[in-house]
Symmetry: C2
Subunit: 291 residues, 2 copies
């Protein structure tokens, strides 16, 4: 796989490079990814940042406030896009909650979406493989993952589905229990088929962070999870985030100290919230990435 | 003057509020400004951030990376817009280097522009008066100013034109000598009249940071200036920034230690450059604002 460099910027004592490449998981469509590597890194630990609905590979890079902390810690950052672009699926641009910008970090099984909408395989398998092959100075034996909103769902669910692959996971205002909230019901119903039910369809629960945490086979005490959510988050109020489901799951799992869930008074869903706490998330991951 | 609140966000242990109000300096047009006040501030020192061409009151707030440092130092931040909006001047939206988004922080004297394009008076007089009257917890006896590109020109020239008003000034990639570079010649020629000449028209030099520094009547040693410019800045290469003019002016003035001009290897003109060094700029201003 050949990466094409579309831009480079110096930032925080390192270099941010935007690469494009044709993605097999995304049905051959070209995708873009921002990769930050601190100067002199030959085997830097890696933190993936998964952005939310409507965002691109640039959003977290431009507004997330992650670079200075990552540079000081010597951690590389990877910002993938949030969906395939230009798949041409009927309706993919009609609703900001589905299709373009709304890949939900799952592999679609529904006929209409399954050729291109495979952001789970893209993030977990293809992208790290492509970056490893490109020899950019990243050490995928020390890899962690974070994200915002839809990307918080992605970070938590991908972490929990792959025990041992990542050192730690964190999330800003994640969709913590997508199988039972409107965003998740809409996206999972379209991409995976099935309808909201109690219990939710198994294919949905397979990507639901709260379900995965409650039922994780990871050794007790081995999970490292940090979650922040603002108490004035408009989507918390709207019932899309339900962080209490994660707390219930942690309690059901019965391993104390694995989940730090912090409710940040008055903060909302915006990047002002993320940039306030992103240095603490980088520090949290650094503890495990550099242990 | 009544401020209308159009949005509020919690950020960095404080509150960012976007206000709108009808501006007399801008010919009665409504303008928007973002104001960040750290929690509990009753008389916070104030740092103005002036953005560059094409930007708005949101650009520095969303991408500048200033909040966490300002919050820790207890410094309020004010982000004005970069021009009037909707003045209806013929051609104001035809060129990104003039008119909307390109107020250049001067008061126009040319007939066509003079009713609305008065960003100098807006920043120096009207905005601080409006904010003082609104009793937001800001202490304008401790006031500093920074900015980027066109806003770097604004910060430096406004600082140097008003000895004693500000504690310190800094700039990211400023247009350091606008009277002799294409951006300045275009804007000053339109807003102030006159044509490029050697020496430049007096009305132009009255807003030229390098000219003002070389001829400043401020007591020797009383100026506090920090300027960063990236060596890979595309507008440095294009001859729009000419930081060497500032160095020559500082030498001509003959007061050592007033200007710190740093060339940052490989950095460009983007907010990746700004967000890398903005914490150091906040710390620089804090030294004088909190002395």
């Amino acid at each position: 796989m050949t990466l094409t460099t579309s831009s480079t910027n110096r930032v925080a004592g390192g270099t941010l490079t935007k690469y494009t490449f044709p993605s097999a998981s995304l049905g051959g469509l070209s995708t873009a990814v921002n990769v930050y590597v601190p100067d002199g890194a030959t085997a830097a630990p890696v933190l993936f940042y998964l952005a939310g609905l409507t965002c691109t590979e640039d959003t977290g890079a431009q507004k997330g406030g992650l670079f200075n902390s990552a540079g000081k810690e010597g951690i590389a950052l990877v910002f993938p896009d949030t969906s395939p672009r230009g798949a041409g699926v009927e309706g993919e641009d009609a609703d900001w909650q589905l299709g373009t910008g709304a890949g939900f970090y799952i592999d679609a099984t529904a006929e209409k979406w399954k050729k291109h909408y495979n952001m789970y395989s893209f993030v977990v398998d293809e992208l790290p493989r492509v970056l490893k092959e490109a020899k950019l100075g990243l050490d995928f034996s020390r890899w962690s993952i974070t994200g915002h909103s839809m990307g918080g769902h992605g970070a938590l669910s991908i972490y929990l589905k792959n025990p041992g692959l990542f050192k730690s996971a964190s999330a800003f205002a994640p969709i913590a229990n997508p199988a039972v909230v409107p965003w998740g019901i809409g996206a999972f119903g379209a991409y995976l088929g099935g309808e909201a039910s109690d219990p939710a369809p198994a294919a949905w629960l397979a990507h639901d962070a709260s379900h995965l945490l409650a039922n994780s086979s990871a050794p007790k005490g081995s999970l490292h999870l940090l979650v922040d959510v603002g108490t004035a988050d408009q989507f918390l109020t709207a019932g899309q985030l339900t962080p209490e489901a994660l707390e219930r799951a942690a309690a059901a799992r019965g391993a104390d100290g694995e989940l730090q869930l912090r409710r940040q008074e008055g903060y909302d869903h915006s990047y002002y919230f993320i940039s306030t706490f992103s240095p603490e998330h980088v520090a949290f991951h650094a503890k495990y990435l550099k242990a």
